[in-house]
């Protein structure tokens, strides 16, 4: 490893993995209740929320990144909140990147879980209710275990998607080694500076990694009978 990749790359890889793990964890916590609500609600806001969740999928990452940058700044609402909480501004920080990645990968987490909850139908929960399970209990002991393939798919997809994230990081990161310089921006820097050799090595690693992740995903899907969004 140390022969193949220098310290700079090592730190970028480690940072990327940290970002992907934290983002996936946060997204599972955020997306699961959201998907649960979306799967069961009859609210007329459902369509609007679905559209909002899907927005990061269609917006160019640089546009998304630009607006996140503005929101994180002293004039933005996130910036105002974080300053009021005494956290300062989150731009150019790891926390800021996590926030950006969570927004960026939101649809990749919500859709598989939503799909899993929808295919579940209301039957298992009705059965649970007749067995006198409280709604929260039914959710944790019936709905969640049955939706496991969807949750796994969401975790793998957001992990892989965050590893490959570039535009948003470029806009809000500031390219700080060990803090915001992830593999994708590192490759970009190498390519721009025409350090093709270094770019190739990192890029090859990234291709191999993505490939393995996708294979893992199809295996997972076949075994668990889950589905891609």
């Amino acid at each position: 490893m140390s022969e193949l990749l220098n310290n700079e790359s090592g730190s970028a890889i480690w940072l990327t993995l940290q970002l992907a793990i934290v983002t996936s964890a946060v997204l599972l916590l955020v997306a699961t209740p959201l998907a649960w609500w979306l799967a069961r609600t009859t609210s007329r806001w459902r369509g609007v929320i679905i559209a909002l969740v899907t927005l990061p999928l269609v917006l160019p990452p640089t546009v998304l990144g630009f607006y996140i940058l503005i929101s994180l700044g002293p004039d933005g609402w996130i910036g105002n909140v974080t300053t009021a909480l005494g956290l300062g501004l989150l731009s150019f920080s790891f926390t800021g990147l996590v926030l950006g990645s969570v927004i960026f990968s939101l649809p990749f987490a919500v859709y598989p879980i939503l799909y899993a909850f929808e295919t579940l139908g209301s039957r298992p929960l009705e059965v649970a209710a007749t067995l006198r399970a409280k709604p929260l209990d039914a959710f944790f002991s019936v709905a969640l275990p049955l939706a496991k393939p969807g949750l796994l798919t969401a975790a793998v997809l957001t992990f892989a998607h965050t590893v490959g994230e570039f535009g948003v990081v470029l806009m809000i990161g500031g390219d700080i080694p060990g803090e915001t310089r992830v593999v994708a921006t590192q490759i970009f820097g190498h390519v721009e500076a025409m350090e093709y050799e270094a770019a190739h090595r990192l890029a090859a690693l990234m291709v191999a990694f993505s490939f393995v992740m996708l294979i893992a995903l199809t295996r997972l899907r076949r075994r668990a009978g889950g589905a891609l969004p």
Partner: protein
Amino acid sequence: MRSSRRSTLLAAASALLLGLVLISRGESAEVQVAVASNFAAPAKSLARAFHRTTGHRAVISLGATGKLYAQIRQGAPYEVLLAADAATPAKLIDEGLALADTRMTYAIGRLVLWSRDTDRMDSNGKILSQGQFRRLAIANPKLAPYGAAAVQTLQALGALERLRSRLVEAANINQTFQFVASGNAEVGFVALSQVTRHDRLQKGSAWIVPANLHDPIIQEAVVLKRAGRNPAAQAWIRYLASNSAHEIIRSYGYELPRS
């Protein structure tokens, strides 16, 4: 009936397309100009004035000089390069990708330490030693000559090591400006042309970095081999040397070589 209407439509559409092709092949030609990010605003005004005086059109593509160089080497369809330095056009000539006799200095850039807050900056850059800021934005010094000049300035002031942990790097000088303009970085080294118009600071406060703190930012243009005999490419270079172009370039805060 239906099919005849369709064929009429088809004929009309073909005529329109043919017309467009003929118009575009008329006297006025088009030139693809790759422009260093710092020169974005003046390049656009120059392109408008160029169109008015010559009838040719200049299509502007923006990027950091290093990035544009890499793209040109990989066969990008640019016909003229307006670099933010003198080294890149020289390299392209050496590599046989640009025409030596077309090389010219179109502007001399000035570096400025800028903040959007009106009272943050002092007149002699003391803020760099006192350090009342969290983030200092610079353009990537490997890619952007303004970024390299920023690093030289910090070195000359003996402040580079001390401030290294506060530096944030942008992919080009326009993104650097964006970091500072959005307030995410309190201060940043940007091009004077990004914050002044007709010698007036547009917003915030600034310290114009003394020219002796960094190598001069001599911005050179060169016609690329790809242009072939495109008359618009030669016309664009000639236009850059004209008095009316000089007036526009100066109004954006650039200097010009004494000729």
